[in-house]
């Protein structure tokens, strides 16, 4: 039997520990080693077959160029969706007030994932809360 084996090495990016994973791709599937927690196996499988990422950016609130609300996705999306989603987010001009966790775009580009605010913005510019 001549089994085809390819080995990938990659750092898990699910948390800052960054376990170094070794993934053997055999005819029978994937064999993952080096993870310090069970999430590593899922990550490695996903990373080799269909990598996913979250993304973060910030957009100005309506009527202001300098008051920004930072946003992220409610869950990770396939990596190739990053730039199409960024283009959608760029059109956003949310109206203040915005609260942390508020959905700004639901189901962005049909990914099943929402664009959500990651900070709270008051209804008026107040010296207490703005940077």
């Amino acid at each position: 039997m001549n089994e085809r084996i390819s080995v990938d090495r990659l750092a898990c990016i699910l948390c800052p520990i960054g376990c170094e994973l070794e993934i053997r791709r055999t005819d029978r599937g994937l064999d993952v080693q080096g993870q310090q927690c069970e999430k590593g196996i899922g990550f490695a499988t996903e990373e080799v077959l269909y990598p996913k990422r979250n993304l973060a950016t910030s957009v100005p609130v309506k009527g202001s160029e300098t008051r920004l609300v930072s946003v992220r996705l409610s869950d990770r999306v396939p990596r190739e969706m990053i730039f199409p989603i960024l283009a959608e987010i760029e059109k956003l001009r949310p109206e203040a007030p915005v609260r942390r966790g508020q959905v700004l775009i639901a189901d962005v580009l049909g990914t099943g994932v929402d664009v959500i605010a990651t900070r709270t913005i008051g209804s008026e510019r107040s010296p207490r809360s703005d940077p």
Binding site: L10, A11, C12, I13, L14, C15, P16, I17, G18, E20, G34, P51, R53, N54, L55, A56, T57, S58, P60, E65, T66, L68, S70, R72, R79, I82, L86, R100, G101, T118, R119, T120, P127, R128, S129, D130, P131
Partner: protein, 416 residues
């Protein structure tokens, strides 16, 4: 002038970032009554506010959130506990007697504290500190200041960037600038290894095909009014540029991500002893500095790669500060914890004899594989701690717990 006319707090925390907010919570939960946070910015959260990327909170909240979310949650906890947090309040001076001079929204005032927790964070190293020759045009930013301009002020900082140094903020900014439509021409790192976390190399550089060149540096900045390019060169083992390896990379922006320095100006004013290895205070097992009643935690104590760990340190330091404020002074002789082979530093630097279950953090000097970390008694040769690691990187701050009661000076070493 007699000091006792000024208001006296149990615990005053200087700095309202991930460490300071946690320190205030730690102090309150350990029973401190009057806890005050002094934050010079107009918002609590410190550097978290500009760190809009995700990856925070995994240890504290058991989920991955962004910096602003982490800050808001921690600040909400502080609020819920009824802790007073004063923003726009800058501490101008701190004495060894724990008298603070503060410039606040309501004007200049003085106050006293039974305990002070230092949580001022850190600063970035600048071009001056690494001495890059060349012209002095516009377009050179530290990675963190670029992060502030882009993420908080909506300013486009340029079109084509080169990043010097592979610190985490530089890697994060490589991705951020790519998102903003800038071309990132490359990341150049002096050392033969990256100084940022593996996950950031992968998701910030590899994902976008941004080249990473190790053992290389910027040897010249070009451009008159604005940066027009930088000259990069390979370096040899002694980190000296290799003649003949120079090449120009055209760019209009240079980002520096070349290290962080604990911001200890106030600590120095109070006479706190600093460690040349960490740039932060020398502390004991209670995070107390050489000045009684002054504690230190977070990036002002040692540079962390994860905000959660800065908070973890804050919780502990705050709790010890609360005890000190109640007059519970730790007793016992002090022993020293010293870095040995392949260990750049370990912290705390001292501990009282009889301390058991000590949380020790350390960094290694270079990447190590299949190694064993030990803490060995200098007198008895007894092994207090031993653990095997598959891999250790200088970019990763390690934390371990030394279970047995410590009775002598220890040397922390890493053997390959």
């Amino acid at each position: 002038m007699k000091d006792d006319i000024f208001p006296l707090y149990d615990v005053v925390v200087i700095g309202g970032g991930p460490a300071g907010l946690a320190a205030a919570l730690g102090a309150r939960r350990a029973g401190a009554g009057d806890v005050l946070i002094l934050e010079r910015e107009r918002r609590l959260g410190g550097i978290l506010n500009q760190c809009i990327h995700d990856g925070f909170g995994l240890f504290l909240y058991n989920e991955t959130i962004t910096g602003p979310e982490y800050a808001e949650r921690l600040a909400a906890d502080v609020d819920r506990e009824g802790i007073r947090a004063e923003t726009g309040a800058m501490v101008l001076d701190l004495t060894a007697g724990r008298l603070l001079r503060v410039n606040s929204r309501s004007g200049y005032r003085l106050l006293r504290a039974k305990s002070v927790v230092l949580a001022m964070g850190c600063r970035e190293r600048t071009r001056d500190m690494i001495e890059i020759p060349g012209t002095r045009p516009a377009g050179i930013f530290t990675a963190g200041s670029a992060q502030n301009l882009v993420n908080l002020q909506n300013i486009r900082i340029g079109n084509e960037a080169v990043i010097l140094g592979s610190g985490d903020i530089g890697l994060i900014m490589a991705r951020r600038l790519t998102f903003e439509g800038m071309a990132v021409k490359g990341v150049f790192e002096l050392l033969p290894w990256t100084s940022g976390l593996e996950r950031n190399v992968r998701q910030c550089l590899l994902d976008f095909g941004i080249p990473l060149e190790l053992s290389s540096t910027v040897v010249e900045v070009r451009g008159r009014d604005r940066v027009s390019g930088v000259v990069v060169a390979r370096v040899d083992e002694a980190l000296r540029p290799v003649p003949g390896s120079e090449r120009e990379v055209k760019c209009d922006t240079l980002l520096l991500s070349v290290g962080l320095i604990p911001e200890n100006e106030l600590s120095k004013r109070a006479g706190v002893e600093l460690s040349p290895l960490t740039g932060g205070a020398v502390v004991d097992e209670t995070f107390m500095t050489s000045v009684p009643g002054i504690f230190s935690c977070g990036n002002v104590l040692q540079i962390h790669d994860v905000a959660d760990f800065a908070s973890h340190e804050g919780f502990a330091a705050g709790a010890f500060a609360a005890r000190f404020a109640r007059g519970e002074l730790p007793a016992g002789d002090k022993v020293r914890l010293c870095p040995g082979r392949n260990v750049r530093y370990c912290l705390p630097q001292t501990a009282r004899t009889g301390t058991a279950g000590l949380d020790l953090s350390f960094r290694v000097t270079r990447p190590l594989r299949s190694c064993r970390v030990t803490a060995v008694g200098r007198n008895s040769g007894k092994t207090y701690f031993g653990k095997k690691y598959g891999r250790l990187l200088p970019s990763e701050l390690q934390r371990v717990s030394i279970r047995p009661a410590i009775e002598e000076d220890l040397e922390v070493a890493c053997h390959e």
